[in-house]
């Protein structure tokens, strides 16, 4: 690992200042992805600003919703009483991710900011526009079985690896950030970006902006929810594809629905059209099949990931069936 400067501020402003003035600096919280990337030379920050002394790990009720501090660990959130009661989908998604050890370390803010696990991004001998803008995309014509089927560009076909973020996208979360120019709230749908011509930018965070919390509005999705994750082994692997499904059912009729997919795009992929279609319909497999077909309309596969065109709709149907079947 390259050498770097290290500072451990106790005040939020000092942390933000440290990054605002230094584009080669990075915040570090759990470090589960950043330390990994630094060991491999994929990321080489000149300075690490350790934010673990900042008081940002509370999980509390806030204005008709839940506010989760950016430094709350993935484990703390997954096992929190309020989260389990109000947003069980989030808890399911968190437990589907990583291992017990990593969930103890990883934070909510860091989870959202993890980088893609595209092999070309990780291999510094390979071209990658995300790691080294202008060097090309190795995955486009290379091994692309993990890669995107929605929203990609000819510069990058990587997918976002977070499970938690798929649930947060489905649940209409808002990201609270604080930066050199003050505080702002970013709707979750606008937090992560599609690659376009600048795949090096994963999110719309500006230089020096620090995630302080995530807000999730209370909703009716406290029971009929399911996070389905399809991967190459039963646990401790990144998703080939995942589906976050939340239904508000009334006597077998769908009153409201939330759907998002992971492992299919550069950001958590919300299925707005399919959600609209589901409202007012009976919660049957036939309805779910039709919704899945709508969701997959714009999907396009590469050489090795055509299986996702089948796996996608099947997983949507299965997630909705599982969500419906919850006692």
């Amino acid at each position: 690992m390259n050498q770097f400067q290290y500072v451990r501020p106790t005040k939020q402003k000092a942390a933000i200042d440290a990054l605002a003035k230094d584009t080669s600096a990075q915040f570090i919280a759990g470090g589960t992805n950043l330390v990994d990337l630094m060991k491999r030379g994929v990321m080489n920050p000149q300075k690490l600003v350790d934010i673990n002394k900042l008081p940002l790990n509370k999980i509390e009720k806030e204005n008709g919703g839940l506010r989760i501090g950016a430094l709350a660990s993935n484990k703390a959130v997954a096992e929190d009483k309020l989260v389990l009661e109000k947003q069980p989908l989030l808890a399911q998604a968190l437990v589907a991710g990583a291992s017990a050890q990593l969930r103890n370390m990883a934070t909510v803010g860091g989870n959202m900011l993890q980088r893609t696990r595209c092999y070309y991004f990780y291999d510094t001998a390979m071209p990658c526009n995300k790691r080294e803008p202008g060097s090309g995309c190795g995955a486009l014509e290379g091994i692309n079985r993990m890669h995107a089927i929605f929203g990609f560009s000819d510069k990058c076909i990587a997918v976002h690896p977070s499970d938690m973020s798929v649930a947060l996208a489905a649940l209409d979360a808002t990201v609270l950030v604080s930066g050199p120019r003050g505080d702002r709230r970013i709707p979750f749908a606008d937090f992560h970006r599609l690659p376009g011509d600048t795949p090096q930018k994963d999110t719309n965070l500006e230089q020096g902006e620090l995630i302080t919390a995530v807000d999730i509005p209370d909703g009716p999705f406290t029971k009929n929810v399911h996070y389905l994750k399809v991967r190459e082994r039963a646990s401790y692997a990144f998703a080939l594809l995942s589906v976050a499904a939340a239904l508000h059912l009334d006597n077998g009729t769908i009153k409201d629905a939330r759907l998002a997919m992971g492992g299919v795009a550069h950001k958590p992929w919300r299925l707005n059209e399919a959600e609209k279609f589901l409202v007012g319909k009976p919660a049957t497999e036939e309805t779910f099949r039709q919704a899945a077909a709508i969701a997959m309309r714009d999907a396009k596969a590469f050489k090795h990931n055509a299986y996702k065109l089948k796996l996608g709709p099947n997983s949507i149907v299965q997630a909705l069936k599982n969500a419906t079947a919850v006692a």
């Binding site: 390259n2 050498q3 400067q5 570090i28 470090g31 589960t32 291992s99 017990a100 050890q101 103890n104």
Partner: protein
């Protein structure tokens, strides 16, 4: 003071000049140790806010297996490397070094973590337990005994991590069923494939009701 260890001696402490240097440092550490709490506290707070240069070693207080250490580390030193290379606690294993295998699992403030992905400097003031700290003198921890009894290993390289993880798995309340154990032990890879025996060992300890 008996259990206060003054960090790592400089690599070439044998040299005369360096020996003096070492004594000087020891004296300094003793001075710090003898200084009233609030003063040390203030000095440390000041350090927190100061940017440590890339090559600069930073002070680190760590309690490992009940022994308090005052150390000095480069910011890029991982907890795993600190344990193995500086404290010579080689029970904790380096497998992948990227958080993918679990061989380096230790407990920090009671929670299991991958020590290969922790920067040691970030653990300042915390308590670490490694496989060496599990047994009570010559008496093995119940989980160690269960691994022996059930043959929960073949080559043994992943075993320290497996055992640290297994103890945490029970303490966390995630050893309720075979399925739950498998899920909550998934962060520990065993290339020999001793999984079924590992699960049996954990179930034995869990069902035996021994305190872990």
């Amino acid at each position: 003071m008996a259990d206060e260890k003054p960090g790592t001696p400089p690599e070439n402490a044998g040299h005369d000049g360096n020996r003096r240097d070492f004594l000087k440092k020891s004296t300094l550490l003793t001075a710090v140790a003898l200084t009233p709490g609030p003063v040390v506290h203030a000095a440390e707070a000041a350090w927190d806010e100061k940017v440590a240069a890339a090559f600069e070693k930073v002070p680190l207080k760590l309690e490992v297996n009940g022994v308090k250490h005052k150390l000095s580390v480069e910011p890029r030193t991982t907890l795993l490397d600190l344990l193995r290379e500086q404290l010579h606690l080689t029970g904790t294993k380096k497998g992948c070094d990227y958080g993918q295998c679990g061989a380096c699992t230790v407990h920090v403030d009671g929670e299991r973590v991958n020590s290969c992905l922790r920067l040691a400097v970030m653990e300042d003031g915390k308590k670490v337990t490694t496989i060496e700290g599990l047994a009570n003198g010559d008496k093995l921890h119940p989980m160690q005994e269960a691994f022996v009894k059930h043959d929960g290993f073949q080559c043994g390289y992943c075993t320290p991590g497996q055992i640290m993880s297994a103890v945490a798995c029970i303490r966390e309340g995630h050893a309720g069923s075979e399925g739950e154990i498998k899920e909550y032990m998934s962060g520990n890879i065993c290339r020999c494939g001793a999984y079924s025996n590992i699960v049996a060992a954990i179930q034995d300890v869990k069902n035996g009701g021994q305190k872990v």
